[in-house]
Symmetry: C2
Subunit: 737 residues, 2 copies
C-alpha cells in the first residue's frame, strides 16, 4: 500500500484521499472512513474520530523543509536517523532507569525499523484489530526495542512519559514485555524461549482460522507472525520443541529473525554454543536465510522478508548477524553491552560515534513525521478489512457470526448445558475419562475449542472424536498432536489463548510432567492466558509406573502459584463443574488434576459446589456444629465419604470437598464460615499429596493425612494402603482428636 504524505495539504492512504487545512484537522472524512468507524465495533478496542486527526502530521506542516519520502520506506539519512532514534530511545530509557538491556535494541534496531515501518500491518490506535500482523520479541529483555517502536508507530500505550519511566513502579513499560500491561505487546516474554513458543501458537491459530474461515473469494484471515529471538532462546530446549512442530506443521506465515550477535550474559557464546543453528533448523523443516550484516543491511532484510513470505509451506528463520550494542565504541560486541546501562560516559561516546546530537528521549521531527503515517495507514488497513468483513458477512453469514464470536470471545448461549451430569447410580469412572466426555461435549458447542496432548491422548483421554488432527494439510481440524513436548505445548497454548478471546486452548499430559512445562504455565498465569491444563494420573493412583510418574507436591505447588486455578474434581459432576469454571475463566488458566483410577459418583457433589471451590457434600449435624469435619479433594473424597459413613455411627460428621482452594478463598466470609465454622477445630484432611499447606484449613488441632515422600511401584490400591491414604487412617485420626 502506497502512502504519500505531501506537505501539509493532502494525504493519500491506499485509495483514500484526505485534504487537510494547516491546523491539522481533516476537512473531509471520506465515506469509507465513516464506514470504518461504524465497523470498529467488531473489534475490542474502539477508535475515536479524534485519532483520525493524527493524519494531519502537524510536523509536516510546521517543518516544511523536512524531506518527506514519496514511498513507504525511509531511505538514506532518514532511515539511519530512524534506526538511531530507536537505539537512543533504548539507550536513554535504560540509562535513566539504570537497569535493563540496551545492547539488543541497539543491534536489532534495523530489524525493528524494517518490520514496524515497512512490513507489518497494524493499527496503532486499535492494538487489538483482529487481522493485524503479530510481533513477538522472544528476546524479551530487549523490550526497549519494542517500546521504542510502539512509541514511534503511534501506540497510545507507550508515551514519552512511559519511556522515561521504563521499568518503574506502575509504568506501562515494564522490565520485560507484558501483554497485560502494554497494548501492542502480544505476549509476555523474558523467560527465554517462551516467545518463540508463543509465536508458534499465534501462527498455528492464524493457520487454523484461515483454513476454517477463508473462502475462495474472500481471504478474511490473513496475517503474519514475526518474531525476533536470540542466542539465549536458541539454546533453550523449548525453542527446539516448538520449532520442530512449526516445521512439521508447515507454518509458512511464521517469519523468525535470529539475532545472531554471538554474545550472551557470560560473554562470547563460543564457550557454550557452537552448533550450526541454521542446519538444525533445516533439519526441523524450516526455510533458512542468512544476513551477514544485520547492522546496516536494510535491503538484505527487505529481501529476506520477501523471500520468507514467498515460501508458504515452511516457516523461515533468517539468521541476522548483528553487533550487540552497535554504535557503542567501547562496549559493542561485548557482554558489557548486554544487561546494564551503558553509563553516562559511554552514552556520550555513543552519541559522538553515531553523530547523535539530540538530548535524551528526543525524537527528531523528520523521524516523527515519517512514522506518523502509521496511524492513518493502520486505520485504513482496518477500514479495508472491515469492508471485506462486511462483504463476507453478507455472503457467509454463519461463518461470519462464528468468526465474530471468536474475535469477541462471546460464548454461545447455553453452552454449559451440554456438560454431562451424573447420578451416584452411574458406573464408576476415572475422572480422566469423564474429562473426555466434557471435552467432546464442549467441542460441539464452543466455536474454537482446540488442543491436544503431549503424545498421550489415548491415555490422557483428550481426543475429540468429531474432529481429525490439526496437521500441515488439515489445519482446519482441532486435535493438536504436540508430540512429547510438554514445555513447548504450554508455550504454544499461551500463544493460542492470546491470539483471540474466543480461541480456547486445552492441553494435556500426566500431572507429574507439569514439571516440564511449569515455566510456560507460569506465563499463562502471569499473561492472563486462559489455557486449560488437563493433568491426568494425578497421584500415587498411577500405580505400577512408580515414583517418577507419581505427583506428590504438584497439587500444592499450583495452589501457591498466583492467578491460576487448581480444580481437582472427585467425580463426574465435579469434572463437569471444573470444565464450566475453566471455560469461563478466560484470564486465569486452570489446572485440572484428574485420576487414572476409577471413582464412584458421590452423592452430594455438584457443578454449583465446584463453582464455590469448597462445599459440603454430606453432613449429619445441625446448627453448623459438626463434631468433625473431614476435608478432601479428588480421588480421596470417596475415602472421606466412606470414613464419614462409618464415623457417623457415633458422631456428627461433615464432609467438605475442597475442589478449588482459590475459588473457596474468594467466597464471602459468611459462606466460608458456613462450610468451615471457626469453632469446629476437629478437622481431618485427606489428600494423596504433600501435607504442607493443608494447615491453612485443618488448623493447629486437626490431623492431616497425606504423603511427604515419593511414591512407589505397585498396583495403586496397594500403594494407597501402604501410605495410609485410607478410611482406617481417618478413623484412627478421629480418635486422637
Amino acid at each position: 500500500m502506497a502512502v504519500r504524505l505531501i506537505t501539509g495539504v493532502h494525504a493519500t492512504i491506499g485509495t483514500h484521499s484526505f485534504s487537510m487545512p494547516r491546523d491539522g484537522a481533516p476537512t473531509q472524512v471520506p465515506m469509507r472512513h465513516v464506514e470504518f468507524l461504524r465497523l470498529m465495533s467488531l473489534a475490542s478496542c474502539s477508535i475515536h474520530s479524534s485519532h483520525v486527526a493524527s493524519l494531519s502530521c502537524k510536523h509536516i506542516i510546521r517543518t516544511t523543509t523536512i524531506e518527506v519520502p514519496e514511498g513507504e520506506a525511509a531511505t538514506g539519512q532518514l532511515l539511519e536517523k530512524s534506526v538511531n532514534t530507536i537505539r537512543f530511545l533504548a539507550i536513554d530509557a535504560v540509562e535513566k532507569a539504570n537497569s535493563g538491556h540496551v545492547g539488543m535494541p541497539m543491534g536489532c534496531a534495523p530489524m525493528g525499523h524494517i518490520l514496524y515501518d515497512e512490513v507489518m500491518r497494524y493499527n496503532p490506535k486499535n492494538p487489538y484489530w483482529f487481522n493485524r500482523d503479530l510481533f513477538v520479541l522472544s528476546s524479551g529483555h530487549g523490550c526497549m526495542l519494542q517500546y521504542a517502536l510502539l512509541h514511534l508507530a503511534g501506540y497510545d500505550s507507550v508515551s514519552e512519559q512511559d519511556l522515561k519511566h521504563f521499568s518503574q513502579w506502575g509504568s506501562r513499560t515494564p522490565g520485560h514485555p507484558e501483554n497485560f500491561v502494554t497494548p501492542g505487546v502480544e505476549v509476555t516474554t523474558g523467560p527465554l524461549g517462551q516467545g518463540i513458543a508463543n509465536a508458534v501458537g499465534l501462527a498455528l491459530s492464524e493457520k487454523h482460522l484461515a483454513a476454517r474461515f477463508n473462502k475462495p473469494d474472500i481471504e478474511i484471515v490473513d496475517h503474519y507472525t514475526y518474531v525476533i529471538l536470540g542466542d539465549g532462546c536458541q539454546m533453550e530446549g523449548i525453542s527446539n520443541e516448538v520449532c520442530s512442530l512449526a516445521g512439521h506443521w508447515g507454518l509458512g506465515k511464521l517469519v523468525a529473525f535470529y539475532d545472531d550477535n554471538h554474545i550472551s550474559v557470560d560473554g562470547d557464546i563460543e564457550i557454550a554454543f557452537t552448533e550450526d543453528v541454521s542446519a538444525r533448523f533445516e533439519a526441523l523443516g524450516w526455510h533458512t536465510l542468512w544476513i551477514k550484516n544485520g547492522n546496516t543491511g536494510y535491503d538484505d532484510l527487505r529481501e529476506a522478508i520477501k523471500e520468507a513470505k514467498a515460501v508458504t509451506d515452511k516457516p523461515t528463520l533468517t539468521k541476522v548477524t548483528t553487533t550487540i550494542g552497535f554504535g557503542s565504541p567501547n562496549k559493542a560486541n561485548s557482554y558489557r553491552a548486554h544487561g546494564s546501562a551503558l553509563g553516562t560516559k559511554e552514552v556520550e561516546a555513543t552519541r559522538q560515534n553515531l553523530g547523535w546530537r539530540y538530548e535524551a528521549f528526543f525524537v527528531p521531527e523528520d523521524v516523527k513525521c515519517h512514522w506518523s503515517c502509521h496511524v492513518p495507514r493502520g486505520a485504513a488497513l482496518e477500514v479495508d478489512w472491515d469492508a471485506k468483513f462486511a462483504e463476507y458477512e453478507k455472503k457467509y453469514p454463519e461463518d461470519a457470526a462464528t468468526l465474530k464470536s471468536i474475535i469477541s470471545g462471546e460464548l454461545p448461549p447455553g453452552w454449559a448445558d451440554v456438560l454431562p451430569r451424573y447420578t451416584p447410580e452411574g458406573p464408576e469412572a476415572a475422572t480422566r475419562n469423564l474429562s473426555q466426555q466434557c471435552l467432546n461435549a464442549l467441542a460441539e458447542v464452543l466455536p474454537c475449542f482446540l488442543g491436544g496432548s503431549a503424545d498421550v491422548a489415548s491415555s490422557i483421554m483428550t481426543l475429540i472424536k468429531t474432529f481429525g488432527n490439526f496437521q500441515k494439510d488439515t489445519p482446519e481440524e482441532r486435535n493438536v498432536c504436540f508430540g512429547v513436548r510438554e514445555h513447548g505445548m504450554g508455550g504454544i497454548c499461551n500463544g493460542m489463548a492470546l491470539h483471540s478471546p474466543g480461541l480456547i486452548p486445552y492441553c494435556a499430559t500426566c500431572f507429574v510432567f507439569s514439571d516440564y512445562m511449569r515455566a510456560a504455565m507460569r506465563i499463562s498465569a502471569l499473561s492472563e492466558a486462559g489455557v486449560l491444563y488437563i493433568m491426568t494420573h494425578d497421584s500415587i493412583g498411577v500405580g505400577e509406573n512408580g515414583p517418577t510418574h507419581q505427583p506428590i507436591e504438584h497439587l500444592m505447588n499450583f495452589r501457591t502459584m498466583p492467578n491460576i486455578l487448581v480444580l481437582r474434581p472427585a467425580d463426574g459432576n465435579e469434572t463437569a463443574g471444573a470444565y464450566k469454571v475453566a471455560v469461563l475463566s478466560r484470564k486465569r488458566p486452570s489446572v485440572l488434576p484428574l485420576s487414572r483410577q476409577k471413582l464412584p459418583h458421590l452423592p452430594g457433589t455438584s457443578v454449583e459446589g465446584v463453582e464455590k471451590g469448597g462445599y459440603i457434600i454430606s453432613d449429619n449435624s445441625t446448627g453448623n456444629k459438626p463434631d468433625l469435619i473431614v476435608l478432601s479433594t479428588g480421588s480421596e473424597l470417596q475415602i472421606a465419604a466412606n470414613a464419614a459413613d462409618e464415623l457417623r455411627r457415633g458422631k456428627t460428621v461433615r464432609v467438605v470437598s475442597l475442589v478449588s482452594w482459590e475459588l473457596f478463598q474468594e467466597q464471602s466470609d459468611e459462606y466460608k464460615e458456613s462450610v468451615l465454622p471457626e469453632s469446629v477445630t476437629a478437622r481431618i484432611s485427606i489428600e494423596a499429596g504433600c501435607t504442607l499447606g493443608w494447615q491453612k484449613y485443618v488448623g493447629a488441632k486437626g490431623k492431616i493425612i497425606g504423603m511427604d515422600r515419593f511414591g512407589a511401584s505397585a498396583p495403586s490400591g496397594k500403594i494407597f494402603k501402604e501410605y495410609g491414604i485410607t478410611v482406617e487412617s481417618i478413623i484412627t485420626a478421629s480418635r486422637s482428636l
Copy 2:
C-alpha cells in the same frame, strides 16, 4: 578379552586360569584374584569370595550337550536365543504385572544383547566398580530390557524372583529404572529426556577425571557411556539442550543409540515428529550413523560401536531402526505394543511366531551358560584395573589419593573450616556474592567440586577464580558453561553426582528459572543425587526485571518436594552454613535461594544454627515465653530483626531464622519446642513469597506477611514497600495479635 569356558573343567579369563571340580567351587583362586579381593576395598561395594563360585557355571557341568562358544560373542542360533530370552523375560514380566512397556524391550533386545554381552565392561558382582562402562536407558519405560540384561549378566540385584515381581510393592524391579533401588542401574529414568541428560553428565565426568588423572603411561580413567533413547526423548527439549553441549564438549566416549521405531503412545510419530533427527545431530556436532535393520542387524551394531569408538572427538548417535514389539504377530509396529501387556493370546502368538517353546521366565540353559562368563569376566576386569591402580598409586601417590577420595566420596579432614565467617561489622553483601566466596573456598579443598551456571555466571556469581572453563580441549578445568539450558544443566548435574560419590556438582541460575529445570531437580531428589542448586535473585528483590523474573511460589514449592533441602540464608554466616550442609548432603540435593540485593550480617546468625534448620537469632524474653515470635528467612530476616528491635521497647520478642524447614523438622521435639514453644501463639512470619504453607509454623492465631500475587517492575526497595514486606507491616500485625 577372550573368555573360553570349557565344559566343567577349566575356565580362562584373560590371563587367569581356573580349574574347577564338578561341584562348582573353584579349587584354585589365582594370586591376582586374591589381589583383586584385597583391592576391592577401594570401591563402595565389596565382592565376597562366594561370588567367585559363579565362575563355575554349574549348568555347563550338568548340561554337557550344550554348545559353548569359543569366543566372546554368541552367534547364530545362540545369539537369537539370547535375544529372544531378553524379549520373553520382558514379555513375561509385563504380562504377569499386567502393566509396563513391552514393545521397546522386544525391539531393542538386539542392541541390549550386543552391549551387555559383547561391548560393555562391567563387574556384575560389583555394580559400583569405578571404571565400569556406564549404561543409561533413557527410554526408561523399557526398563524390562535392562532388568533382563542385568539378570542374565549375573547382577544379584535382579533375581528371577525380582523379574516375577516386576513393578510390585517392594521389588527391586520398579516400573521405571531407579538407581537407588537396583544396583546396576546408574541413574533414574522414565521422565523422557532425563536419561540422555544424565548420560551427558556421566560422560562429562569421565572426560574430566580422565583429563585430570590419566598419565602418559597409565590410563586409569577410561570408560564409555552408552545410552539408548527413543523418539520420546528426541522430542523433549532437554535432549536437544544436552546434545548440543555434548557436541560442543566433544564427548567422544558418549555412544548413543536412537531407537527409531517410529511409534509412540499416540501411534505413528508421523503425526508429530517429522524432522530429520540425524541431520539435527550433525548440526549439533555429533557423528551420526544409521542401522536400517536394528531387529537382526547384529554385525551392523557391532560395526557401529567400533566406528563410534574410533571417533574420539565427537559423540556418536546411531539411529537404529527397529520394530516396536518385534515378534508379536498382531501388535508389532503399533502403539498397542507400547504401553501395556500383550495379553495372554498375543503372548502365545508371539511364542509361536518366534518359536519360543519355553515357559514364562525361563532362561534356556545354553543362554544362561553363555552369559555366565560375565561374572568371572567382570571380576577379572576389575582385578586388572586394581592392579593398574596399584601401579598408579606407586608412581603417583598424590593423584591416587585424590582419585581414591573421589571414588569413595570421603571428604578431606577439616574441609569445612575454609568456609568464611562474618561479623555484623562486615560490609553488607548480597548472599549471591557471599555464595561465590564459599564456592571459591570450597573449590580449593574439595577434590572434585565442579559446576557452573546457565549463562549467568557473572550475575549469579558462580565463577571459580582459580580454574578455567571446562571445554573440549580443557576438560581438566572446573567451570562448566552450560549456556542458557537450565533443564539440561540439572540433568547433566544428576549424571555428574551419580558418577562418583566424591564428584560434587553445583549449578546455578535465577531462582525463578528453576521452573525450567524442575523435572531434573525432582530426579535429583528421587535419585539421591546430591546436586547443589544455587538459585540467586530469589524474590521481588530482583527489582526492575519485573514479574517474569521474580519468584513468588518457588520457595514453598521446593519445601513441598520430597528429599530436597531448601536453605535460604540471610547473611554471610548462614550462607557458609548452607554450603556446609549442602556439601555434606550427598544423597539429598540442596536448593540455595540467594539474594540479588545487599544484606547486612546479622548478630546471632550462625553455621550451627543453619545446621538445625531453625534457631533463635535474638530474644529478650526469659523462660521460653516471649510475647511474640517473629519468623523469617533469607533477605527478610533483617526486616524481622529490625522490627523486633522496635517492638522490644514494650514487649519480649524472639526472632527465629527458619533457614531450612526440612532440617528444622528433623530436630527433636524438645529442640523444636525450645525454639517455637507451643504456648506462644502470637507469631508473625515475614517472607517475600507466597503465604500458603506458613500456617504450619505461624498457627491459626498468627499473622503471615508475604505475597500471593505476581511481582512488578520497579527498584526492589519500592516493590518491598508497595507489597508491604516491611518493618511497618510487622509492627501493624503485632498490634492485632
